[in-house]
């Protein structure tokens, strides 16, 4: 058991625990907060995996902006709780069963065969994943997708405004 493994197992435990808690929480606010914790844990994992830039983006965009938006909407709609309704009694058990099958399949995929996956992660070269290297890659090889992303975000913004806008008739 190396230190790395211990750190990883700890972080993995936290991530899974927060994810399960998010699922289990009755209150949507709690769910959102657990998810924030999950995101931060994963961001720490990113840091450890030599992805410092992505880790910071994860914290600022996901844990910050997106989750705040979630919380804001939950509170706006007052949607912390959903009243119990009778529908679909067998959906839960079947979903759990299928989830187990999926997990088993993933297990088989990851552990069932020999190969490079079983090796330790290689030590990254100097400067791998630094903001500079990611920036260079983005603006050299992925310039056009990057610019298109900005358009996508603009469209999403306009779409959100259009979808949530109240009709004038209604407002009167």
């Amino acid at each position: 058991m190396t230190t790395d493994l211990i750190i990883f197992l700890g972080l993995g435990f936290v991530a899974l625990a927060t994810a399960i808690s998010m699922l289990a929480s009755r209150n949507a606010i709690y769910s959102a907060l657990f998810l924030v914790m999950n995101f931060i844990t994963v961001a720490v994992l990113y840091l450890l995996l030599n992805a410092a830039f992505i880790a910071l983006v994860q914290v600022t965009v996901y844990a910050g902006a997106i989750m705040v938006l979630f919380l804001f909407v939950i509170m706006l709609l007052g949607a912390e709780h959903v009243e119990a309704s009778p529908g679909l009694p067998w959906q839960g058990p079947v979903a759990v069963l299928l989830g187990l099958i999926l997990a088993g399949e993933f297990g088989l995929l990851l552990f069932g065969r020999e190969g490079t996956l079983a090796q330790d992660l290689q030590t990254a070269v100097e400067g791998f994943g630094s903001p500079a290297s990611v920036g260079l890659e983005l603006f050299r090889n992925y310039l056009i997708p990057f610019e298109i992303t900005s358009v996508l975000l603009l469209v999403a913004m306009v779409g959100a405004i259009v979808l949530t806008r109240r009709e004038r008739k209604e407002s009167r």
């Binding site: 999926l102 993933f106 069932g112």
Partner: protein, 691 residues
């Protein structure tokens, strides 16, 4: 003469196809523009087309002088099927060029004549619009005739053969709505066509036999194979030649297929002159001359040919004696003269036949055209009289010689050329007909006594009926007011007549005894074309007979001129024989009784009982229609309603039921859908796992 002296070369042969295409060009121009160009242009273009064709023929003649072996001019590949290879290739040799010169030369003169004649004719008949059509047909005829004479294989010859037959049919029925009962001309055309069809069938069977025996349709190849095969193929060659004789008899109006030619006189007179006297009807003689190799190998057929020719010559000559229609006399005369030629080719005297063919073309065309001039003159006179009277008189036949008489002074040019033509036909020296007819008689005297006597008798009758005709038409007093007022024809008509009269006078120099120009010329094509020696006894005998016949005719018709309304004086002398002659020996009636009537009865029977009662009433209505109805009824009730509808409705019900069950799957719960997607994901990953 060599080519250097003339400055000419074989290259001239290359122009040969023009001889066919120039008349075609003329007819195309007239067809497209004829109505707009006006009569003068139409006539000029048609005549020019044929005249230029004649020029081409002369060029071929010059080329042939320096290269007498002739040439093959390929126009187009036509049919290539397995071993059969038929090309449209023109055979330019002395025989075909002789025909070309004669046909295009005479055609040119007749075209010019027709330009004047048809001008009047279309007005008499009351449809000036048909002027163009006439010349289109006329040019088409020349083109078809050229295809016929230049053919180098049986199939191409057959194309021309049928082409001229078609033109003949179209031109006989040119005034198709006229004639007896308004369909007389059309019936005459049909008769010609059907009779010719019998001959064509013979030609076709001969063609099939040739291909079966020799594996080729090309003349040269067939003749070479026939030479080598010789007696081994004797039976087949005899059969081929007999069937060819049937074809020739149809086209050249020989016994027993002669009946169509007299009726063909229903066509306008230039048509009679060109097609039914000078050119088309000689196609049979040309065809036999072309196939002389085969006929030489089949003595039986040759004898048969000679006998048919001789019999026809005498038979038709006797009928001509007792005809009153000016053109019918000439028609039977034509049949008789064609009999002379057929007899000649049958005796192997191909040169004599070709010689007579050419001279006959001259003087028979002359006679027909002159008769046209007479007819139109009388018609003019008739109109003049009618115009004066202002009331319509009794029906008047401008072709009936009993209505004529005394035209000598009214139509002097016509009278003179007519006499020249008649004397040439009668065989009075030194006119063209004498030399050619005498050559045939001289050949016959050596080759075949039976035929010789038949021909001599025919020659006697020939002189007699021509004398009779001239005396009836031109001498005595006019027997009708129309004849009294008949004017002479315009120069456009008389000029060709004069030219033809000159040709009829001097045509004999083509093959004068001692010189044998035509014999030498044709020798290149017709091997061992022997020239019969001039036989003074035969010549003197036949001339004497002809003169005797003319004197006899004068005694009967000239001494006491025929009076109006009186019967023919010959009738008194000959009695029932004259009736027989007048009625053409009842051949038409015989055919009518033996063939036409039973045929029509059979056709009626077949139409009424077999076709209508059996096929229509019983088979169609009862067997087919009722069975079909029953079947349809059963199908609609039992099959359609139960099975077909069952399938259709069943499919519908199936879909409906399945849909009713399947729609319950659509719970509307998004989570359910997500679940099914999830199942799919698991299955796909599972597939990749176990793959």
């Amino acid at each position: 003469m060599t080519s250097i002296e003339l400055g000419l070369d074989v290259g001239l042969f290359a122009y040969a196809p023009l001889i066919i295409f120039l008349p075609l060009l003329g007819l195309l121009i007239n067809m497209v523009l004829g109505r707009r160009l006006g009569e003068w242009f139409v006539g000029t273009i048609a005549s020019l087309a044929v005249a230029s064709s004649f020029v081409i023929a002369v060029l071929q003649f010059l080329a042939l002088n320096s290269h007498p072996e002739g040439a093959q001019v390929l126009v187009a590949d036509w049919i290539t099927i397995g071993d059969l290879d038929v090309a449209w290739s023109l055979k330019i040799d002395t025989l075909s060029v002789a025909m070309m010169l004669m046909v295009t030369g005479v055609s040119t003169l007749i075209h010019i004549y027709a330009a004047g004649y048809m001008h009047e004719d279309v007005r008499f008949q009351g449809d000036p619009g048909r002027y163009t059509r006439f010349f289109v047909y006329f040019n088409l005829f020349v083109a078809a005739m050229m295809v016929l004479v230049t053919a180098d294989n049986y199939l191409m010859m057959f194309v021309g053969w049928e082409g001229v037959g078609l033109c003949s049919y179209l031109l006989i029925g040119f005034w198709y709505e006229k004639g007896e009962d308004g369909i007389g001309n059309a019936v005459a055309g049909k008769k010609a066509f059907v009779t010719n069809r019998i001959g064509d069938l013979g030609f076709m069977i001969a063609m099939f036999l040739v291909f079966w025996q020799f594996g080729s349709l090309n003349f040269d190849q067939v003749f070479t194979s026939a030479h080598t095969a010789g007696a081994a193929a004797g039976g087949v060659i005899t059969a081929i030649t007999i069937f060819l004789l049937v074809g020739a008899a149809g086209k050249s109006a020989q016994l027993p297929l002669h009946v169509w030619l007299p009726d063909a006189m229903a066509g306008p007179t230039p048509v009679s002159a060109l097609i039914h006297a000078a050119t088309m009807v000689t196609a049979g003689i040309f065809m036999i001359a072309r196939n002389h190799v085969l006929f030489d190998l089949a003595p039986f057929s040759s004898n048969l040919v000679a006998l048919v020719g001789g019999a026809t010559a005498l038979f038709a000559a006797t009928i001509a004696v007792a005809q009153f229609d000016i053109k019918r006399v000439l028609a039977f005369s034509t049949i008789s003269q064609l009999g002379f030629m057929i007899a000649a080719v049958g005796m192997g005297a191909y040169v004599a036949a070709m010689f007579h063919l050419v001279t006959h073309a001259f003087f028979k065309a002359l006679l027909f055209l002159s008769s046209g001039s007479v007819i139109q003159g009388v018609e003019h006179g008739h109109h003049h009289v009618e115009h004066g009277k202002k009331t319509r008189g009794a029906p008047f036949d401008p072709q009936d010689m009993r209505n004529m008489g005394g035209l000598r002074s009214k139509m002097q040019i016509t009278f003179m050329v007519y006499v020249i033509g008649a004397l040439a036909l009668a065989g009075i020296p030194p006119l063209a007909g004498f030399w050619s007819k005498d050559e045939i008689l001289a050949d016959a005297s050596q080759a075949n006594p039976t035929v010789f006597w038949l021909l001599v008798a025919a020659a006697f009758f020939t002189a007699f009926y021509m004398g009779r005709q001239i005396l009836m038409v031109f001498f005595g007093k006019p027997r009708s007011e129309a004849a009294d007022h008949a004017p002479e024809s315009p120069p456009v008509m008389t000029l060709p007549l004069i030219l033809l009269a000159l040709l009829s006078m001097v045509g004999g120099i083509l093959n004068l005894p001692g010189f044998h120009t035509l014999t030498d010329w044709l020798e290149y094509t017709l091997e061992h074309a022997h020239a019969a020696e001039f036989n003074l006894v035969v010549a003197g005998f036949s001339t004497g007979l002809a003169l005797l016949a003319i004197v006899l005719a004068w005694l009967i018709y000239g001494r006491v001129a025929m009076k109006k309304g009186k019967p023919d004086p010959l009738r008194r002398i000959l009695g029932p024989i004259f009736v027989g002659m007048h009625n053409k020996w009842w051949v038409d009636e015989l055919y009518n009784f033996v063939i036409v009537r039973p045929y029509v009865a059979l056709a009626r029977f077949l139409a009424k009982y077999v076709d209508w009662r059996f096929w229509h009433d019983w088979f169609h209505d009862i067997v087919l229609a009722r069975t079909f109805q029953r079947g349809a009824w059963w199908l609609s009730k039992a099959f359609d309603l139960k099975v077909i509808d069952g399938i259709g409705n069943g499919l519908g019900d199936l879909t409906k039921g399945a849909a009713a069950r399947l729609r319950t799957l659509q719970t509307g719960y998004v989570r359910n859908y997500a679940l099914s997607v999830f199942v799919g994901v698991i299955l796909v990953i599972g597939y990749f796992l176990i793959r």
